[in-house]
Amino acid sequence: MDLLVQSIVNGFIQSGFFALYAVGLVLIFGVMGVVNFAHGELVMVGAYTVWFLHAQHGVPFLWTILIAIVIVTAIGMAMERFLFRPKRNDPLGGLICSIGVLFILQIAATLIGGDGPSKQVPPPYQGTFVLFESLRIPVQRVFSIAVSLAALVALWLFLTRSKMGWALRAVAQDREASSLQGINTNRISMIAISIGAAMAGLAGALTAPLTNINPHMGHNIIITAFIVTIVGGVGSLSGAVLAAVLYALFHTMVTTYFSATIATISGLLIMVLVLIIKPTGIMGRSVSD
């Protein structure tokens, strides 16, 4: 029983990360029509930034989160400007470019951190909350879920309450009709990838003290992001968030009672089933909902 409750709580905390990964992928796909295969590597760069600056050089953790966001956002903006924009009418071209970025970032990480064992960042926030005597939640995890939630709420407010947010959803639905309203669609693409990359950088920074950091960590992340995105309905942000919660719970449970490998394999099976049975996902329509 305790184990069950504990894994539900862990699952919820994990869902914050899953949602951050997926939301960025959905935004970039929705607005720009590109499947960003390098998304996991953007998260990896965020984690490396914290490892390098905080764990290696003692820069305060909170500062390194901001720096990670800035670096990863800059990478995202460069991808848009120099790869995705020239390939705008060629989604396959954009996808192949993103795979190129994936390798470049992996190699860069290997050059900076070496190819040895995975790196660890000691949790900056020590201590554990103990609830109901047996439920244990490390402070570090509470911090990460709180920040993830805040970021998701801020994104939601931006998309639903601001003119730029409406414009972004409009471009995701109909690029041409948006330009007929005077919306500069290149600028909106830049905003979309900036937000998506910022979320990835934030996720990477938050996850750094809780995970093994290595050049290949993006692999599992992109798999998770694909599962969540497809189960949620490609293009649907609220679907992605809901699917992130469900899949994180599922993944944590299966990991607790069986193993992480079985959890990921069943996740992929669920994804395939969704693709066959309900390709629009559990919510699926567009970035607007």
Partner: protein, 235 residues
């Protein structure tokens, strides 16, 4: 807004859609382009709006060359389009659609005033302002498309088959609205397959056939032309 199209040629890959058309519209005028499927009517409007680049020829608005400008820049000059097939943002609410029509305008008071005005023209939209646009009927969606274009306060309004798929009573309503808008000083270019309607609304008309202008004249004269009667009015 004065608009001048000269010797316009448009190529889509290898298909020639327009082969040298010239059209002149004076400020405050109401003109129509009629023609059958594939004649090049939409291509003409899309080229004016900057969605398509001509391979030859020029488009001039108020003395300024606009061919080659981006669509969002052209909108800012005061040229709005109600595109073929409505193209409203279906997963956004009606009010969000309308406010996006005013995307480039910064004076909030004026935008709210115009919102009030389009709600007077289309009271249905006010009732449904919070609803997702996809939940509206076809006619109501067309109203959103027209209202959205009006929200930019255009000087020149391009409409691509606004009557398509609508009930006669709604077509009549939209026709009246267009005349009101025109009388308020907005220049109108109306593309229609419903030639009967178009020639009743417009002052002057062009008949497009396979990417060329086959005929042009005052709308009244066109309506009495034998060829037009046979080919487009079904009389």
């Amino acid at each position: 807004m004065d608009l001048k199209i000269e010797n316009l040629h448009v190529l889509y890959n290898h298909v020639t859609a327009l082969r040298g058309i010239s059209i002149e519209v004076k400020s405050g005028d109401f003109i129509t382009l009629i023609g059958s499927n594939g004649a090049g009517k939409s291509t003409t409007l899309r080229t004016i709006s900057g969605l398509v680049k001509p391979s030859l020829g020029t488009v001039t608005a108020q003395g300024q060359r606009i061919d080659g400008m981006a669509a969002d820049e052209i909108l800012k000059l005061g040229i709005a389009q109600v595109p073929e097939g409505r193209r409203i943002f279906k997963d956004l609410s009606v009010i969000e659609n309308l406010r996006l029509g005013a995307f480039t305008r910064n004076n909030k008071a004026e935008v709210n005033q115009d919102l009030h005005r389009v709600f007077q023209i289309f009271p249905k939209l006010q009732e449904r302002q919070g609803q997702h646009a996809r939940t509206l009927s076809g006619g109501e969606q067309q109203m959103v498309s027209i209202a959205r274009a009006l929200m930019s306060r255009p000087k020149l309004l391009l409409l691509d088959e606004p009557s398509l798929g609508l009930a006669p009573i709604i077509i009549r309503e939209i026709g009246k609205t267009l005349i009101d808008i025109n009388q308020a000083g907005v220049t109108i270019v109306l593309v229609e397959q419903n030639a009967d309607l178009a020639l009743r609304l417009a002052r002057y008309g062009y008949v497009l056939e396979s990417g060329k202008i086959a005929l042009e004249n005052d709308a009244e004269h066109l309506a009495n032309n034998d060829h037009v009667k046979k080919a487009y009015l079904g009389i």
